[in-house]
Amino acid sequence: MSMESTRSANSAKRSFNNNSNSASSNSNSNPSNKKKKTSQKTLGVAWGSNSRSSSRSSFSNSPFSNFGSYMVEKNRKLQNQFEAEASTSSHGGLGSVKPIFDGVSIFVDGFTVPSSQELRGYMLKHGGRFENYFSRRRVTHIICSNLPDSKIKNLRSFSRGLPVVKPTWILESVSANKLLSWVPYQLDQLANNQPKLSAFFTLKRSSVSNGASTHAPCQVNPEAEDSSLKVGTSGDTYFSEVSKRFEHSKQISGESDDLVDENSNASLVEEPANSSGKPCEVAMAVPSNIDTEDESSVKNYLQSNHYQPSALVSGNCINNQNMKGSPSSTVSEPSNQSHSTLGDPNFVENYFKNSRLHFIGTWRNRYRKRFRTLSDGFNCTSSNIKASALKTAIMHVDMLSSGTILNYEISLLLYAIQTTGKELLKFHLQTTLLEIMAGMFVRDAKALCPHLVIFPYNFEAYEEVADQFYSVLHKHGNKVQAVSCDEAFLDVTDSEGDPQLLASKIRREIFETTGCTASAGIAGNMLMARLATRTAKPDGQCYIPPERVDDYLSQLPIKALPGIGYVLEEKLKKQNVRTCGQLRMISKDSLQKDFGLKTGEMLWNYSRGVDNRLVGLIQESKSVGAEVNWGVRFKDVKDAQNFLSNLCKEVSLRLQGCGVEGRTFTLKIKKRRKDAEEPTKYMGHGDCENLSHSTTVPVATDDVEVLQRITKQLFGSFHLDVKEIRGVGLQVSRLESTENSKQGLERNSLKSWLTSASARTEELCKNNYVAKESSNQGCEGEGDETLVQLCGNSVGLSIQMDSNTYNGAACLNEVSVPPPLCHLDMGVLKSLPPELFSELNEIYGGKLVDFVAKNKGKTENMNHTLRAYSHEKIEGAMKEGQAALLSSMVFQNEIPVENKAKQHIAKEVPAVSGAESFVPASGLMKTDLIPSSLSQVDTAVLQQLPEELKVDIFEHLPAHRMQVFSPNVLLYPTEIPLEALGTKTAENNSGSKDFVLDNNLWVGIPPQWVEKFKVSNCLILNILAEMYYKSGSTGNLSPILQCISSVSIHQLDAFQDGWDEAMYILCELLKQYIKLKIELDIEEIYVCFRLLRRFAMKSEFFIQVYNIVSPYLQALVGENYGGNLHMSLKD
């Protein structure tokens, strides 16, 4: 309790302090000091009443009666400290400017980047407050980067309804040098429950702000605006009267001094204050009702215009007062409304119908469609040109002499000028006049020339001319880049003749076909060409050779450069830069520092006449959308919804027009800033906060209803007061071409069909492949061994290729013994002796029969070749083939089965071990498999082997094993006809060894082992590879192991086959990892090995792995750190 009363007192004090800081209100400082004193007094009173248990004296003697009073005192001190610091650190010199964070008081919760201290610094510097302790009253924003779950769940009790904002809000506000809306910076974690939350905030806040803003004109304006100062009190009464009836008329009336004519609608046309002289900025916003008027009404209007010329010229104040005094002004209000969304249900439609910018925007799409083939053809060549761009010539053609108004044809007449009733249609005079007026607000133009008539655009005629214009251009060069409907770049590098001659030719043709004059500029790049056109205007041409570029630029005012607008110009002017020559003095670094990386570079380049853009690069549009920022005034939610659905219609039409569909929808809202004054432009949007929300749907669409639904949702998520909205835009991105998406649908369905059938197809393919391979072999009648090897290779290949089917075949994993059915060679299977076949069938749990039957039905063709194959084949070769396959199966078997099968084979086929020699190659698993398996080979079998095979086997035997078989060695003749083969297998072996032994298991992203393990047939390795992806693919081992420990520790031993291989490879993996990390990251290794040790407690496999690797580890640690890793067994 005690805290709150003092708090309010303090906060009062604070605000006054701010005032006294700002130098502008010097006169205020005295009263504020007085207030300060009084607030101090109330502070004292508050103390007295609140410190319950103690008297005032005990308080002043500072032993605190209780914790509460202590905290109060502490807070007070902290605040004093803060204020003291603030007064020194805030920039007092700029007192007239309101500090950014005026009225903002933050509380930083938990860890943030930047730290709370830095944030405090920002607040100090920019007039905000920083609270060390949370309080609902004083704090306006809570800043934090992360919230614990409990606080999220209980957000209301944590934040007390205050906005919870990320620290970037402050940073970006500082860098933008104004207080940004906190809404986009809301904590991500809250994004889900945001709607509810922000609904609560916005309702509450907007009601406050509404209240404030309705009073604002009365109190603030007199100080700020001269004109309204004059009309002072009458303005107030006026406001109170009118604004009650028209909530939004306050905007209009605030602007009433700008209104040219209250009585006539037709003239209420406003222009953006675009002093940059952009073409065709005039009369962008033709009021919606103008198109209802016919030509004749213009005359009426002109007459009515006559009785106010003096008022128009004489100035705003009179106008103002006229308006206020006369009842007609209130009458005029409703008529004005029709320009806004209020009162005109078809606003959107009319808006776009009359918007010139819209015309130009959509025109581009039209152009692209029309000239697509042409520019496409060009695009292909452009890359070639690029290389040889030694002496390029770019021509810039601008059709309108002043770059502003097209006015030759009466249908294109935008402005007609009437002087004393006599129409002047003389072309040149108009041009000169119009040049003066280009880019002016209509009201200014009217002030200059009271008889100005404003015609609506005639877009059809405009379009026609534009088309003619472009066909001329395309006739003369296929590298045309359209800038707008009357302006284009041509790359005339490779056209014959003097570009200047060409330019005059083009200009002549344009004049002949369209009747409009065009200016042309020629130079080495697009920038210079455009600048040249500037010189050439009106109706002329100019060539700037490369050697003259510097001279030309040095005196050029910076404003002439494209990309330099008002703001940039002002900034540069502050640095005393007015011409490009001066701009060149500034280093690129400092430019980039001041204006940002891109703008800085652009300035640097442009001031030197450097422009690397290529003519003709038409970007595919990334998004399609429509935005209305003029005349948007909503009365209630229904208005807004209506407007939105119309906007959706428009966007949908545009999407269809471009032949695309989109997936991401962004709704942009311009919201009137709380303290924004009336926009200078009539019905403009003025100073706004830009808000946007977007959503992505899975399927691209251009459907109106879907759009409307989505837009409504998006709009709902803003939770805005519709009255505050000044502009709405809907943008659709992630476009897909309509045709593509339709194809995509088909493809998808095809794909899904395919995948369901894919397993089968794959099997078939593989069988085909293997069978063909072997049948070819058989036909050629080559040696047995080659056949064996080929079979082996192809099997190996299929293992690699098809780990998926392999893993997926759960039924096979159950047995976990033989290779998957799909790896079986049908040919071999078929020619197997019945006994063997039945045994195999047993191993496969009876599936082999089905398999063969299936194949029989399906692969007639293959069977055919197989038959041929089996016919032509020599008996011995066939047996080899069988053996090869069988042994490859056998090697993946569990040991008992393996033995059994082997015995069996030994009985049937004398060539088992011969087949074994290829196993390392096919399995790609492990090389030291040979010795272990050979030790199991029956010597009797071995002795019966053909000599060649024996040679092979012994080549793979380690030396010490040779002795065991020495009697056999004596047996075989020393002629070695198959040396070639031997080396081949050796190569294969070394290949498979390579991947293990060359320290490259950890190379790459993902590291190589992941791929190898994925295709491996060892369960544990598969798990490892799988975990790699699950653990987030960091490239570190410890997260992978951690994943394993959480998932499958109990089944680590569940596999039997390939135990040795798996262990060997895993050890190698670990060793390489240790080697990789030992120097820099012993912690990671330590974590891994502690995990491994934990596994070892549960798994036999990992005990062995651990025992193998840990000596190696300790040795390396000793080498690098002079000690052993401490692997205690405490836990």
Binding site: S115, L1080, D1081, I1082, E1083, I1085, Y1121, G1123, N1124, H1126
Partner: protein, 204 residues
């Protein structure tokens, strides 16, 4: 600011590193409870709550020792810096070792934030790793020791004279290591681990 600007990346890195070491060593001393906790006060460093010695002599010792290393770290001569706790016989009981590696050829600008982020993790980890350490015997002392790759020539630099060869004895057996934290972020690589005498170490 000026000082920062005209320093090489190595100099900048070394400065950050030294500052960090000062804080980290203080944290270790605090962690081991060498002095009563009242000898420390809470401070904020890298946006973390850390301890700082209040006693001027203690603070000076740590500060001067660590900042004495600065020129050598810049040259890449310091291999390890250790905080050694040893008993009355001068036999170490526990050693906290910082293994340092500064990439001398790293030319580009050091990303302050990255470096801070990595270094911060040390301090966080350190504050929770008390369980990894041993209980120290009753009368023990501690010192800061630096291990050089090569001994600097005394005449060449005055800073060298501040350093004296240590009297602390070495273990006879290779010690047991318990890594605490490693970081490797260009151009700096720091590892912190604790060394304990091996189990087979002859007991005094």
């Amino acid at each position: 600011m000026d000082r920062k600007d005209n320093q090489s990346p190595q100099g900048e890195t070394a400065r950050i590193l030294v500052e960090f070491l000062e804080v980290a060593i203080t944290s270790i001393v605090f962690l081991k409870g060498v002095y009563p906790s009242g000898a420390f006060e809470r401070r904020r460093y890298m946006n973390l709550v850390v301890q700082r010695a209040r006693h001027p002599q203690l603070r000076d010792y740590i500060h001067s020792a660590v900042f004495g290393l600065l020129p050598f770290i810049q040259k890449g001569m310091v291999e390890r810096a250790a905080v050694i706790f040893f008993n009355t016989d001068g036999i170490p009981v526990e050693r906290f070792v910082f293994k340092l590696a500064v990439n001398q050829s790293y030319g580009s600008k050091v990303e302050h934030a990255d470096l801070e982020f990595s270094l911060r993790s040390f301090l966080i980890k350190l504050s929770v790793s008390e369980s990894l350490t041993k209980v120290l015997p009753r009368d023990y002392r501690w010192e800061i020791t630096a291990y050089f790759r090569s001994l600097p020539e005394a005449s060449a630099n005055k800073d060298v004279e501040q350093w004296i060869p240590t009297d602390t004895r070495q273990w006879e057996q290779p010690p047991l290591l318990t890594p605490i934290k490693s970081m490797s972020s260009e151009p700096l690589c720091v590892q912190l681990y604790i060394e304990h005498p091996s189990l087979s170490e002859p007991k005094p």
